[in-house]
């Protein structure tokens, strides 16, 4: 049971947590930013278009063309940069806390198993006579 937990369940849980976090970030990027705009499917099968103003339509008023990956190759921005650093730190903190919790859980489980296996201490025998 312990081996099964340690070799299969716990690694799977960690992997799922990491993939889940990564997936959540990906989903947020895809739905809230232009970062994945190049992946939008077109009307024809297999066609990939820039959503919003492709297909013979004019770009919206005031549109400034920029690089397709959404970042642009413009100058640095302190606000966006610091927000990015804080975002990375939050991601790292969540992962570190998750792993430390798992380690604590495993240690607790080990201690609990060891306690359960230890036979109760027999009371000292009363002297005869």
């Amino acid at each position: 049971m312990k081996k099964f937990l340690k070799t299969i369940v716990i690694p799977l849980l960690i992997l799922m947590a990491v993939i889940g976090l990564f997936g959540a970030g990906w989903w947020w990027g895809a739905t809230h930013t232009q970062a994945f705009a190049g992946m939008a499917p077109g009307e024809v099968r297999g066609e990939r278009i820039r959503p919003g103003f492709d297909g013979q339509r004019l770009p919206p008023e005031g549109f400034r063309p920029e690089r397709f990956d959404g970042l642009g190759r413009g100058g640095p921005s302190l606000t966006r940069g610091l927000a990015g650093i804080v975002g990375s730190l939050v991601k790292l903190a969540v992962i570190v806390i998750l792993v430390l919790l798992v380690q604590r859980g495993l240690a607790w489980f080990d201690a609990w198993r060891a306690n359960r296996k230890t036979p109760p201490i027999a009371p000292p025998a009363e002297p005869e006579g």
């Binding site: 970042l71 190759r73 413009g74 100058g75 940069g81 790292l92 792993v99």
Partner: protein, 176 residues
């Protein structure tokens, strides 16, 4: 290579700050991002050389009886190395400043390289989290030993206290 813990800590902190900065090209702009990526290769190699003995020991004993934590560390580190190498290589493929500096023109990079670069970089940050978590005790104890305690000693020293008193006196006179 035998290196003191202090040197290791300084290099690791530098690498950590470099990864955070590399993961945020908005902070530096793309040109510095590209050159920082190139410089990061050298720092990463130095980090590997500092831990070379551990790498060799675990590699030779990986499939033998080995404490499970070392094996987990090894797998995570290997994954991190693969992701960082992939991110740096794909970054070079879409680079505009570094390759131009060396007179290399690869033409317009396809969107696949850009996508791969972003994916690998994001995954590398995630695996870095695992790497940090697995070394958390070492990080906390050495930060405490080499950063927190020395700073605490400076503020507790008579010099620190007297300069604090002088500051207080100056503040009081300026308030008067």
């Amino acid at each position: 290579m035998s290196v003191s813990t202090k040197t290791n800590l300084i290099l690791d902190l530098t690498l950590f700050v470099a990864v955070l900065t590399l993961a945020t090209p908005d902070l530096t702009g793309m040109t510095i991002h590209e050159w920082l990526g190139v410089a990061f290769v050298a720092a990463l190699l130095t980090h590997l050389l500092f831990h070379w003995r551990w790498i060799v020991n675990v590699t030779t004993q990986f499939f033998r009886k080995l404490w499970h934590s070392s094996r987990l560390n090894y797998v995570v580190n290997l994954l991190f190395l693969a992701l960082m190498t992939g991110a740096l290589l794909s970054g070079l493929m879409i680079s505009e400043s570094v390759l131009a500096f060396f007179g290399i023109n690869l033409g317009e990079p396809g969107p696949a390289w850009s996508g791969l670069h972003h994916t690998l970089s994001d995954a590398a940050v995630m695996v870095l989290g695992l790497h940090l978590a697995l070394h958390w005790k070492w990080i906390v104890s050495n930060l405490n030993r080499y950063v927190v305690q020395p700073v605490g000693r400076i503020s507790d020293s008579p010099v620190g206290r007297s300069s604090d008193n002088r500051l207080d006196e100056r503040n009081q006179t300026s308030n008067l």
